[in-house]
């Protein structure tokens, strides 16, 4: 065995840092080369797909690879051109480029599809059809029926919030087995809504042998059909959804309650405030920021409600439990109506953005009335 060579700092060769101007030039060159490569790939494949040239790839995958190369080149060129500032940009840039690829691009490309007649069974493929899909959507009673149901489902979030607040207060109090209950109450949130719809909607609530149906019979309900009449079906769907979702609101509120300064509550108690007064005058206003966050997040989730409905009622009876997403699912998946389905989805997306923007503005204005917040 030969002895290990000894290395000293003085013996190591010192590499001179590249000239900043040269480094910037390399960065610029890298960026433009990668950009040229990416644009060339898009152009070649675009012309080939449009049938204007005979040269192209079998699919769009090489364009994706070109995008990945371009993204890496953009990041590298930032470092080369801007040094430390470019390195700082790397904290955000990859995430931004990823979002651009998987969120922004599909959304914009979706608009392109939304204005076309694209039935997957059609022999002619995708055809641009202007605003036909939009006009059809305005006159589609199923879509607007589902939209009406969404109002009910969104309003149900307020009920879920009230229940979740009660549970959070309970779990924040000094009760026995508090840790156990915290975990136990979280369990439904850990379950997939699909599993819940099968385990509860199609098993526990099953008309013939379901334990909940048996219990309902025992309590005097002769025909405990949970999904056969519009309002009972809606209420059942909301109950299933609430079972999954309330723990989510509850855990956010619980975190808020635990972060609340204890001295304020103690001061209120010393001043003789009742529990009810302490809640309305102190706890509730202090919890408003957390509450608003929880409610807005829940509304966003709620507007995408579909899995429980698809599994349990398929939107019935007569569309009473249909949601916009479950309707789009049918339009797209069962009917292969890609163009129209995409129009419905894009329009719904725009509506959600507008609705949430207005909602947040109103909430901000309302919260200013509470000086404690």
């Amino acid at each position: 065995m030969s002895p290990a060579p000894s290395v000293t700092a003085s013996a190591a060769p010192v590499r001179a840092a590249p000239d900043p101007a040269r480094r910037q030039a390399i960065g610029r060159g890298l960026f433009w080369a990668a950009t040229a490569l990416f644009l060339a790939a898009v152009l070649v494949q675009g012309l080939y797909s449009a049938g204007l040239t005979q040269v192209g790839f079998a699919n769009w995958r090489p364009v994706l690879y070109a995008y990945v190369i371009w993204s890496v080149a953009v990041c590298a060129s930032q470092v080369l051109r801007h040094g430390q500032r470019g390195q700082r940009a790397l904290f955000v840039l990859p995430a931004f480029l990823f979002t651009l690829a998987v969120v922004v691009f599909p959304t914009v490309f979706g608009l392109f599809i939304a204005f076309s007649d694209w039935n997957l069974s059609s022999f002619t493929g995708r055809q641009f059809n202007g605003i036909d899909n939009f006009v059809a959507m305005l006159n589609d009673p199923y879509y607007w029926n589902a939209m009406g149901n969404m109002v009910i489902y969104v309003l149900a979030v307020l009920v879920q919030y009230a229940i979740a607040f009660g549970l959070a207060l309970l779990l924040n109090a000094e009760i026995r087995a508090r840790k156990f209950f915290r975990v136990a109450f979280l369990l439904p949130f850990m379950l997939s809504p699909v599993a819940v719809s099968w385990m509860i909607g199609k098993s526990l609530m099953e008309y013939r042998f379901g334990p909940l149906a048996q219990l309902a019979r025992f309590l005097g309900w002769d025909s405990p059909a949970f999904f056969a009449t519009p309002w009972i079906a809606r209420a059942s769907i909301i109950a299933l959804d609430s079972w999954v979702s309330i723990p989510f609101i509850m855990i956010l509120l619980l975190a808020g309650l635990q972060a609340m300064p204890k001295d304020i509550m103690e001061a209120a108690r010393i001043d003789g405030a009742t529990g009810w007064q302490a809640f309305w005058k102190i706890t509730f206003p202090l919890m408003l920021p957390v509450s608003v966050t929880a409610i807005v997040l829940r509304i966003i989730f709620q507007l995408k409600l579909a899995d429980i409905v698809i599994n349990t009622t398929a939107g019935g009876p007569g569309g009473a439990t249909d949601t916009v997403t479950s309707f789009i699912y049918r339009e797209y998946r069962d009917r292969s109506n890609v163009g129209y389905g995409t129009m419905l989805a894009e329009f719904y997306f725009v509506l959600i953005v507008i609705f949430l923007t207005v909602l947040l503005a109103l909430i901000n204005r309302w919260m200013k009335r509470f000086p404690t917040t």
Partner: protein, 553 residues
């Protein structure tokens, strides 16, 4: 009907005997004593295998599992060995796309093909799909040019999408001989499975809806007495027409049989990815399928929907009228619920379904009606709508019967993408032929598999009774199938692209009718309008052309 069924079975049995006699005579004529002996040995060995596989696991021995499927696959490997050398497909990798409904279909195929993989050296990768995912997955693969499977389990209604677009591989002659296509029941022969004269499909199923009923309910003396007392028409017995089904359903509401609430006919009313429409169609065919007219869903020359004619509106109204007499949760019952959670569990006394009810009644662990389940072809109607004249006709021969050949059965298709590789091509067709083999198919028609009898050789009662089936039970079951398949007025659905789009839209509109939001005529008009839009969207001229091609016109 029952008499005709027994006659038909006799005819089928005679055909089979004649076939064997003919084979023996052919051998003798050639003076090939040794050849005849070999032929006889093969026939005896084949009969031995058929008897042997029917004992796996045995009728009444519970639901079969993977070990049983593998054993059946191993025993049925003889036909493959005649065309393929051991290890011939070493290194070949195939992808198979199919269903996993009720833990059947692909799960069985895996077991059946395991010995085939061991023998040939090929390897199969599986794509399992739920029923509702099947159509969109297939359509997306076709439309986006991303067919990523070599072998496909597919129903005939999708042939327009696949074969009509040149995506399937044409069946080689050696496969036709291996699977004995002549043995298919007549309605599964060309034009089904063919496009432009080329054969693409190996049938593994022979779908039709039959009528399943409870023998104990319709022979109950107390109910017979009550029927008379309440002024019921004729004797209390199994309904033969939809008019009688309606009357029996109303009568049974509030009655009890064996201490349980009795119900009459069960309609599956919850949408089921388009497949629920078949159940309305089964009620409609007797009204809408006139013996003088091949078409019953669309006009052949124009694709104009008939869904809003008097026959269909009457059908829809029948369902609406029956709703108050069905279980309270019926609006939320899909076909699976109706067949497997209601009827096999003892709720309801009449149901239309595919042959699965019969093959599960005595072999599934969850069935409680194995001893009291009877079968027939779908009920008829005292009158039938003539779409050409716009009149209701009373036929001189009596009620009009028109069994619904719902879905025309599952088949195995090989995709055209294997055509460029001769080894892969042969391997794919060999795997498909193994699944569509004559002996193996006997087992799938006798046990829970998702498939029902579809070959003439499946109607040999003796094989079934030797396997442990009660003769009366199995005779009735097989008669309901063969009489449906061979019925001169059978209703065969159009094999056109996007057929499930039509069905899916109809389900949505029907849900509104059944929930009482719109009347039957308005609902039917809405469906017709939506169907016209779909036809225009897919391409009317193309649809008409394919519709005619699918009918062999």
């Amino acid at each position: 009907m029952a008499k005709w069924s027994n006659d038909r079975l006799d005819i089928l049995s005679v055909d089979r005997r004649r076939l064997l006699q003919g084979a023996a005579g052919f051998g003798m004529a050639l003076g090939m004593g040794g050849g005849l002996a070999a032929l006889s040995r093969t026939a005896v060995a084949q009969e031995g295998i058929r008897a042997q596989i029917l004992q796996i696991p045995g009728v009444g021995a519970g639901s079969p599992g993977d070990a049983d499927w593998q054993q059946v696959g191993e025993l049925c490997l003889g036909a493959t060995k005649q065309n393929v050398q051991e290890g011939e497909f070493a290194g070949v990798e195939l992808t198979f796309m199919g269903l996993n409904n009720q833990n059947l279909h692909n799960l069985l195929f895996r077991g059946f093909l395991k010995p085939w993989e061991t023998y040939t050296g090929a390897k199969i990768t599986w794509i399992d799909l739920a029923q509702a995912d099947y159509n969109p997955r297939l359509q997306q693969a076709i439309a986006t040019g991303t067919v990523d499977f070599d072998i496909l389990e597919m129903g005939a209604p999708f042939e327009g999408d696949v074969c009509g677009k040149g995506l399937a591989s044409e069946m080689p002659d050696w496969v036709k001989a291996q699977i004995d296509m002549d043995d298919y029941v007549d309605y599964l022969k060309a034009p089904v499975g063919t496009w432009d004269g080329k054969t693409y499909r190996i049938s593994i199923d022979g779908d039709c809806h039959n009528f399943n009923y409870r023998t104990d309910v319709f022979s109950d003396p107390e109910l017979a007495e009550a029927w008379k007392a309440e002024g019921g028409e004729g004797e209390w017995g199994v309904p033969k027409t939809w008019q009688q089904v309606k009357a029996a359903t109303k009568f049974l509401k509030g009655k009890q049989v064996a201490g349980q609430d009795a119900y009459g006919y069960l309609d599956p009313l919850k949408p089921w990815g388009g497949f629920g429409f078949y159940f309305l169609a089964s009620r409609a065919t007797a009204y809408a399928k006139h013996p003088d007219d091949k078409a019953w869903l669309f006009d052949i020359d124009t694709m104009k929907p008939r869904i809003n004619n008097s026959a269909w509106v009457r059908t829809i109204q029948d369902v609406v009228d029956s709703l108050p007499y069905q279980p309270a949760d019926q609006l939320n019952a899909d076909p699976n619920t109706t067949g497997f959670q209601q009827f096999l569990f003892g709720t309801g006394s009449m149901i239309s379904w595919w042959g699965d009810i019969g093959s599960n009644a005595r072999t599934s662990d969850s069935s409680v009606i194995g001893e009291v389940c009877g079968f027939d072809i779908l009920p008829g109607s005292d009158d039938v709508y003539n779409n050409k004249t716009g009149q209701w006709d009373k036929l001189p021969s009596g009620p009009n019967y028109a069994p619904n050949m719902a879905y025309i059965g599952w088949g195995i298709y090989v995709m055209a993408r294997v055509d460029s590789d001769s080894k892969k091509h042969k391997a794919a067709w060999s795997a498909a032929a193994h699944l569509g083999g004559k002996d193996l198919s006997l087992w799938t028609s006798a046990y829970p598999s998702g498939f029902q009898p579809y070959r003439k050789s499946h109607f040999n009662i003796q094989e079934w009774t030797e396997a442990g089936y009660d003769e009366a039970f199995i005779s009735g079951y097989l008669a309901s199938q063969s009489n449906s398949y061979n019925h001169p007025n059978a209703a065969i659905e159009p094999r056109i692209p996007g057929i499930f789009q039509y069905y899916s839209v109809a389900e949505d509109e029907l849900a509104k009718v059944f929930a009482g939001q719109v009347d039957a005529q308005t609902g039917a008009d809405n469906i017709a309008a939506a169907w016209e839009k779909i036809t225009d969207s897919i391409g009317r001229e193309q649809q008409i052309k394919l519709y005619k091609a699918s009918l062999g016109l």
